[in-house]
Symmetry: C2
Subunit: 134 residues, 2 copies
């Protein structure tokens, strides 16, 4: 069995998944990522203005859903969840691209995040540029 | 505790992490993703030629590493792992962008993948286009 240990949590004005936009760039509010203090050294090098990928655990999602209609649109055909961005999937890992607005010790303010308050955060990754800049 | 259930595994000619390129677009070979048969319906809608994000569990990585030198380059400063793409991180989730070359029942051939043979696969997600195409 593979076990995840959250690195922190989301603090957001969004509390109900029903109120969350489908993607961060579709009107999600700014949010704070509160990282567990012992992991503070792992943040060194993150900078205000940088784009970042935030991986979350969508704890309210269903894990037994295999097919869905994208965007709950009844006019669209049912698709497998791996062909969609539905939160409901065997491992409900959320992937969010956003931008760092502020950094203060082990707290990161990001531009937009469609994850609700209390969502466990699993990882942060830089957005890769061209190979020459890696 | 959050528990992952692999949705399948990587089958690849790469067997030693030391031989793996740092990113898929830096010379990684094609690979097969063998999905567990009960999850077959979750693949409906994936198509040959589509770009796809593959999330993996880098099972050989260290989880207690908090800082590292990018690309193991001694001339570069030590950075926190969340500012790098190091596989060594608290939750060693690999994120790979690749393209589907062939689909056969519950097996997917992808263009390039820097994960070694036997790597657990956690999730597949489409690459999002502009909001108008979602």
């Amino acid at each position: 069995m593979l076990t995840l240990r959250p690195i922190g949590h989301v603090r957001s004005a969004l509390v109900d998944p029903a109120d969350a936009p489908r993607q961060g760039d579709e009107g999600a509010p700014p949010a704070r990522i509160v990282v567990d203090p012992p992991l503070r050294p792992a943040l060194d090098g993150l900078a205000v203005g940088s784009d970042v990928l935030v991986l979350t655990w969508l704890h309210w999602a269903r894990r037994d859903t295999l097919t869905t209609r994208p965007r709950d649109d009844p006019d669209r055909p049912e698709l497998g969840v791996f062909a969609t961005c539905s939160p409901h999937r065997p491992n409900p890992i959320g992937l969010h691209r956003t931008r760092i607005l502020a950094l203060d010790d082990a707290e990161i303010l990001v531009e937009h995040l469609e994850a609700v308050d209390g969502t466990p955060v699993l990882d942060l990754k830089p957005v890769l540029g061209p190979t020459s800049e890696r």
